[in-house]
Symmetry: C2
Subunit: 306 residues, 2 copies
């Protein structure tokens, strides 16, 4: 219990990872969503990705979205890039916090960017150099870190190999993504432990999906190890492309509600965030999976009948 961090830093990924897995919404709605999120106390927002519009039409307007967002100086906005072309676009748009995603499983990486994991890793030093040369940081997000929707189990050694190649390429930080909610607490404890043993100085964040209901259990397991850097998506936006109807990212308001009650500060105003979650739900046009959005904060009471 005493090992829990006093504070965690949340990165809001609803506008990118969330919306990427929803039917496209209007550009103006994306801008409104990012602007509203930036006023909730969240200090990091993944705003857009620079990917090919044929691959991900939901992000085709990334340049326009970013040019019209009302920048809050207290917020760090990041962009996800799949390759050198995307990274150049992100730099040209003025982003200084960049993320490149590589899947630990070959099949998933090929499906995403038509390359093997090793081929993506081979290109990583050039991307890092390019980012650093422009004064930007580059984070490596390792997706399918706890399992792959195509291959099933992904050996931990393979994930550690990808992480090690990232470190060797000079990335500034690492995030493990549980792309389809295959992590469970013991797996989190093992992979975080092994990664820290290998790379004790490397900043490590975790990105959980709630596809099988384990999102907050995994986050609690990580908190107990002192991990203080997590991704989450407002309203639990996003779903899962491999399982219609299943949940997407862990919901930011569920994380805030749980960890603040445990004495772990997030800096986020839960009521303000719930207003944005309602807005997000309206934009995507269907019930979002966030339970706190349905039930309200713990402090909500109802009048007795008599």
């Amino acid at each position: 219990m005493s090992d829990l961090p006093k504070r965690v830093s949340l990165r809001e990924v609803g506008p990118r990872d969330g919306l990427q897995n929803e039917d496209p919404i209007p550009t103006a709605a994306k801008i409104d969503l990012i602007d509203a999120l930036s006023e909730t106390g969240l200090r990091r927002i993944e705003a857009v990705s620079f990917v090919h519009p044929r691959a991900i039409p939901q992000m085709a307007d990334a340049d326009e979205v970013w040019s019209k967002v009302r920048r809050n100086d207290a917020v760090r906005y990041s962009a996800l890039v799949p390759n050198r072309r995307g990274l150049e676009r992100a730099l040209a748009a003025g982003f200084t916090d960049l993320e490149v995603v590589i899947s630990a499983s070959d099949t998933h990486n090929r499906e995403n960017i038509n390359r093997s994991t090793a081929e993506s890793l081979d290109a990583l030093p050039e991307l890092t150099e390019l980012a650093h040369g422009s004064g930007a940081t580059l984070q490596l997000i390792v997706s399918t870190a706890w399992g792959c929707p195509y291959e099933g189990e992904v050996p931990e050694e393979r994930v550690l190999w990808v992480a090690g190649r990232g470190v060797a390429a000079g990335v500034d930080s690492l995030v493990y993504g549980d792309t389809t909610g295959m992590a469970t607490p013991t797996r989190v404890v093992r992979l975080v432990g092994e990664t820290r043993s290998a790379h004790p100085e490397l900043p490590l964040g975790l990105h959980f999906h709630n596809t099988r209901g384990t999102g907050l259990a995994n986050l609690y397991a990580a908190l107990q190890l002192g991990v203080d850097d997590f991704d989450a998506a407002v309203a639990g936006l996003g779903g899962c492309p491999y399982a219609p109807g299943a949940s997407g990212n862990i919901a930011t308001e569920e994380v805030v509600s749980m960890v603040e009650d445990m004495g772990v500060e997030t800096g986020v105003d839960l009521d303000a965030l719930l207003d944005v979650a309602e807005m997000a739900e309206r934009f995507v046009g269907h019930a979002a999976p966030s339970q706190v959005l349905r039930a309200g904060p713990r402090s909500r009471t109802v009048p007795p009948s008599s």
Copy 2:
């Protein structure tokens, strides 16, 4: 990690706690549900409650349901009772595993059974005597143990007072119920720790709702303390009467999926349970909140596109 129990005992509460919070379903469907659950490897099923049909019309056919259930000798079936009248009906029906529920918060107890918590506790020794005199066991379920939808916070001292009165009255075991999903892991750790200090020999089970998404995180916190007795409802049946659209009990298949992956045995066949979860969803006629029902077990893979 090494503190996790090798095995947990799950009590399936979908037929009672789940269906009590759904629109009434036909008697034959209830019987089919219980019979199907009894073939999944689950060893305890809360089958019915003996409550006044005006209070809970969903359980008005308890006697008929129980008389027609195909009893599996490997399964212990239990019944919930609110008072002496219900307990007598349960004994007359042949139940030998009985549960009485008392809310830690006065307002919730009054709303449920029109008595203060203290008045319910005063009646408890008589109920215990009656149960034991008929060769039955009586479990005390303390609801609103981590918060009350009417009163908000419920002091831990009050929960411990209720538990202590139960022990003094001779109950055979104790379950804490997180009636509206207000528990978080640190609260679970505190209450379980204090209860064990006070009553080290008392069998203690936990009953979580996923109303605010924390159900499996709370369960993981309890597992780390060695708790090995949990309630759960197939498909996550039940919802929350105070928050339309919110989740009910933690879903049995989510629990099985997570803890089996962590090396904790349940004795339950996950595939068989998922078939029953589909049946349960069909019976209640709306999408159930179970994520594993949507996404399938961790082992489910999809073919790549190329």
